[in-house]
Amino acid sequence: MSEHGHGPQGRHGHDHHGDEPGFWQKYVFSVDHKVIGIQYTITSLLFLFFGFCLMMIMRWQLAYPNSVVPVIGKYLGGAMASGGVLVGDGYNALGAMHGTIMVFLGIVPLGVGGFGNFVLPLQIGAPDMAFPRLNMASYWVYFLGGVVMLGSFFAPGGAAASGWTSYTPLAVTALSGQTWWLFGMVLLITSSLLGSVNFIVTTVQLRARGLSFFRLPFFVWAQFVTAFLLLLAFPPLEAAGVLQLMDRLAGTSFFMPSGLVVSGVPQTQYSGGGSPLLWQHLFWFLAHPEVYVLILPAMGIVAEVIANNTRKPLWGYKSLVYSVVFLGFMSFVVWAHHMFMTGMGTALSTFFQATTMIISVPSVIILTCLIISLYRASIRYTVPMLFALAFLPMFAIGGLTGLPLGLTASDIHLHDTYYVIGHFHYVVAPGTIFGLFAGIYYWFPKVTGRKMSDLLGKIHFWPSFIFINGIFFPMFFSGMAGVLRRQFDQTEQIHGAAAHGLTVMSSWSAWLLAVAQIPFIFNFFWSIWKGRKVTDNPWEATTLEWSAPSPPPHGNFATVPVVYCGPYEYSVPGQKTDFCPQHVALEA
């Protein structure tokens, strides 16, 4: 029986192991981590799709400025478009909501809520999370937060339009759905906090016998560090969100400087004395660790897939573990590299430049270990492996292009240009999202007992790989040419007009990328019912989740597993098979 830990309600519920739960308790308000993981996955995939659609509208405006958006132009509301042509505020609203939805409603819930919830307890041999009801609460608070966030589209001034970064004083004075955004964020952050407590307690306290920390799969380490980042970095943004809400609703001046004039009107209703930079510090204190929250689960997935499809242990397991822990720690002390242009003085900017350079070291170590793992391996080019292999150079490009941004001198030229957009999208889009696709194809058989079609998977992979590079690679050049971000018509400037061809290329790549997702969407749903049925361990993997039935029942394991060896005992000399599961003792 799992411990129903102390929560705000503190209810000691009835033990349901005797009676069969009804529909609502089994599928909607379930406390089973697997059901919750699936709920997170489906919801976040829908949000990812929606966020992508917002971007496709923006890309029309960027490629063909001031022309009518085809198909849906006439449906865009007054705050967003005029006669089917996007207006500046509408473009900004799409941009702000695209970023917010992708980061907070899409990637993190999928990587942590979806994959983490489903796989982590299985990989450590636990029957469920430490606090199952808290787990259910985190999903529903996330769901509510998502609904509130989308609610901003229906606010009188249109959706929040002050960037996903909501810089003040613009965000305070904006007449848009910014207030909805703030309430949505408070809910989402609460959901994350509840989840992170669960993940940490589960990982430390619920491991199977014999599963020491250094026998954990790298995926678990990645989720463990991620949970600490969420636990300690999110609260300052929750506080900041409350402060901005007070500025908007209670007329305080936390972020409102003295003497502010907006559109010619002096803002004397505020006391002044506030600091816009305060918002930036509190925001980036979270948002920098947040980007590591975005990448770490994907790195974890890629590590698992690579170990499995190279049929050898990961190279440098200890280096991987120490690097990811060090990375997590360093991520808290680099945040002001997003603020180099705010006039902070050379001592502090040098400090942040130094920490930013230092943090690139563990990332490089992790990438290098994964690449060396391929050396002299018998690589199986399964669909998950294709995505995992693609992750490596994509993350490398994303990481390397971050260096000129972390160095203050070059950042002067590149800050707030398309170069930045190219950099971070490379890490998150061909980086993290490809890692998450790898995870979906890899763990689909465990969740459903069926495999997704390999042919459709390859048809999904190759065009996606080509077109996603087509979107983001040109952005480095646009940015170096000086094209600024959050600008809805770059052709108004000479250098923008000169670089416009690159933008058109990005836009067409984006629309073709959308087409390339169709085989995936079809494959995903079709395979749930019609996919080829497979055994419990179709990939011949070593980690504990593959020793459970597919799909695992409530309670996961028929007998509690005991662990005898490390997570990647592949191709051990002298063994009969080329893999030895963790719960099986190696033959002497």
């Binding site: 300690l232 930079l277 305060l278 510090h281 002390v333 603020m339 003085g345 001592a347």
Partner: protein
């Protein structure tokens, strides 16, 4: 969990009372010192925070039994304390024109 026997808990109760007295005395000291207006602002801040840290430590160590807890929790809290101080100090340092390091 801390020691289970009834005798041990009784000893703890004595400690709780002593800590309460200490906290009350320190509170009185804090308020009294604040009345001394000849202190400069940095001095007042330093003394107030010093006393607050002592009071806080008493609550954490004895009421929250941190003094009898194992290493892992202490490490998590120390890590947290480090980040707390970072969050507190670094933004202010960015407003200074030079930092006397």
């Amino acid at each position: 969990m801390s020691a289970g026997s009834v005798e041990d808990i009784r000893k703890h109760v004595r400690v709780y009372v002593m800590v309460f007295v200490a906290l009350a005395v320190l509170t009185a000291i804090t308020v009294a010192v604040a009345e001394f207006h000849f202190l400069t602002v940095p001095q007042a801040v330093a003394i107030a925070l010093f006393v607050a840290v002592i009071k806080g430590s008493l609550v954490a160590c004895y009421f929250m039994h941190l003094i009898s807890e194992r290493g892992m929790v202490l490490w998590v809290l120390l890590l947290c304390a480090f980040f707390f101080i970072t969050l507190l100090l670094i933004p202010v340092l960015t407003t200074q024109e030079s930092v006397g390091v």
